[in-house]
């Protein structure tokens, strides 16, 4: 027990390499390859820590100044999905969830309970996140792991159920998307689309996505989101011109660098993800399955992109006017397509409907992200994420889009 605690206390830059190396050896990758991927993950964490300290040390004082100047109580920082993923990969339930996830998927496939073979092991972090929420709420590792298991089952079923849309709307037969922060919203999106079908007048409207993308496309680029938003926050914080320009460039750098750092993490996970894929597909040769992939494979769809570009200002406006919202959307503005995918897909890419449904989703996402801020902050501290003194609370829009884990969390919260 002492040894385990010693390793846990070393934080993710040391703990994760050890875990990933052991998992690699378990999948018979051989020591050099397993060691290399372990070390790569450790370096990924180190890189992410660099960027997050840049983000928090710049943004934290600015948001506090905004609260003082304008009474805009947006003091929860949106650190984005990369950090949510990194925090999840820093929790001790990682190996248990990886092994259990593969086991559940194999079991459900062999009993014909699902047709989805989830080879997207990188996004197992969603299931780990779900488990971690429950674990830090209840202080029970077992309950956390059970919550991860329940999430996996629900997400696989949702992926099966939504597969016809993936095949028809995005023209990807044989592919399903077991992607928690996307597919959790699919039932609501499909329902809302049916409601709009019934409203005369409204049900005829559509907008051409290509024009929007051509005209405003650049504003969806992460570096420009960072630049513009950084300047805007600087103005609201009452900074001098010098301060505004500095904040603006630093925020552009954060949004540009963050994915680069996560990519290093991803590179380290790649061998494991490949082993997992081979392990799964060797189990079921010749069986007709849907291959479960990251929702990233469809978000380039013109309607999804058009809706998400228009949703950036709408999200900021909602964050400012919704009473009780405390999250300042920032990093995850570059990740909107994942959360809003199922606002657009049910209507086969109708941009007008996509916008209406996205706005409704976003209200939920902002409130959930606000509500999850205390537990997310606790998680980050528990896994030794380095936050500068005085950083208030953190959360992410992506965390807010984890609807199924959130429902589980609220259910368990009743008993605690």
């Amino acid at each position: 027990m002492q040894i385990i605690n010693f390793i846990l206390n070393l934080g993710p830059t040391v703990m994760m390499p050890i875990i990933i190396m052991l998992l690699g050896l378990l999948f018979r990758q051989g020591f050099p390859r397993a060691f290399r991927s372990g070390l790569t993950i450790g370096m990924g964490f180190a890189g992410i820590f660099l960027v997050i300290s840049m983000l928090t040390s710049n943004l934290s004082p600015a948001t506090q100044a905004m609260v003082i100047n304008w009474g805009l109580r947006l003091d929860v920082m949106d650190v984005g999905w990369p950090i949510a993923a990194a925090i999840s990969f820093g929790t001790p339930i990682v190996p248990a969830v990886f092994i259990m996830g593969l086991f559940i998927n194999i079991l459900m496939l062999s009993l014909n309970w699902t047709k989805t073979m989830d080879i997207d092991l990188w996004n197992y972090w969603h299931f780990i996140f779900s488990g971690a929420l429950i674990m830090y709420l209840t202080d029970s590792v077992i309950l956390g792991i059970i919550a991860s298991g329940i999430t996996i089952v629900i997400i696989l079923k949702l992926a099966d159920w939504t597969q016809p849309y993936v095949a028809k709307v995005f023209d990807m037969p044989g592919i399903s998307l077991p992607h928690t922060e996307s597919v959790s919203w699919a039932p609501l999106g499909i329902l809302l689309n049916k409601v709009i079908d019934k409203i005369p007048g409204i049900n005829k409207i559509d907008i051409n996505p290509e024009k929007i993308q051509e005209r405003f496309g650049v504003f969806g680029e992460p570096m420009l989101i960072g630049l513009v938003l950084g300047a805007f926050i600087g103005v609201l914080a009452g900074y001098t011109v010098e301060g505004i320009v500095k904040l603006s460039v630093n925020m552009a750098a954060v949004l540009f660098l963050m994915p680069r750092m996560v990519r290093i993490l991803m590179e380290g996970l790649l061998p494991l993800s490949e082993s997992g894929r081979e392990y799964l597909s060797n189990r079921f040769p010749g069986k007709e399955v849907f291959i479960g992939l990251d929702a990233a494979v469809v978000i380039g769809h013109p309607s999804v992109m058009a809706v998400c570009i228009l949703m950036i200002p709408i999200t900021l406006l909602l964050a400012a006017v919704l009473p009780g919202n405390r999250i300042l959307p920032f990093t995850d503005l570059a990740g909107l397509p994942f959360f809003l995918l199922w606002a657009v897909a049910p209507s086969k890419g109708n941009v007008f409907r996509g916008l209406i449904i996205s706005t409704i989703f976003m209200v939920g996402i902002l409130y959930i992200a606000t509500d999850l801020a205390p537990v997310t902050t606790l998680m980050a501290k528990q896994v030794n994420f380095p936050f500068p003194e005085g950083t208030a609370a953190i959360s992410s829009l992506d965390g807010g889009a984890h609807l199924i884990p959130y429902i589980l969390f609220k259910f368990v919260e009743i008993f605690y």
Binding site: W122, L293, A295, I299
Partner: protein, 100 residues
């Protein structure tokens, strides 16, 4: 021999394009081609293509025709699913060799 520039495009520019880029590089190198693979997000494609001027685009997410600026596009899905990787690599290799 000429080094071919390949642009891997995906939704995030992180997860799936990393897999596609690594596989693409591995399979084309095996076929005796010298390649350099760069990744980007779908939203960045339109700006990135004129600057980087890749010989081919390997996309794991839908990309607008207008964003391609006439560059030949292959769907990189086989690199993600593992089904048909060799066939796709053959096609890309054949196309690149036709450019020489």
């Amino acid at each position: 021999m000429k080094t071919f520039r390949i642009l891997a495009i995906c939704g995030t520019g992180i997860a799936t394009s990393t897999v596609a880029a690594e596989k693409c590089k591995q399979y084309l190198t095996k076929r005796g081609l010298k390649v350099e693979v760069v990744e980007c997000k779908a939203v960045e494609a339109s700006g990135k293509i004129p600057v980087y001027s890749p010989h081919v685009v390997v996309a794991t997410t839908p990309v607008n025709e207008s964003a391609l600026h006439g560059t030949k596009k292959f769907s990189g899905l086989p690199f993600l699913t593992g089904v048909g990787m060799d066939k796709l690599a053959d096609e890309i290799a054949a196309y690149l060799q036709s450019l020489e």
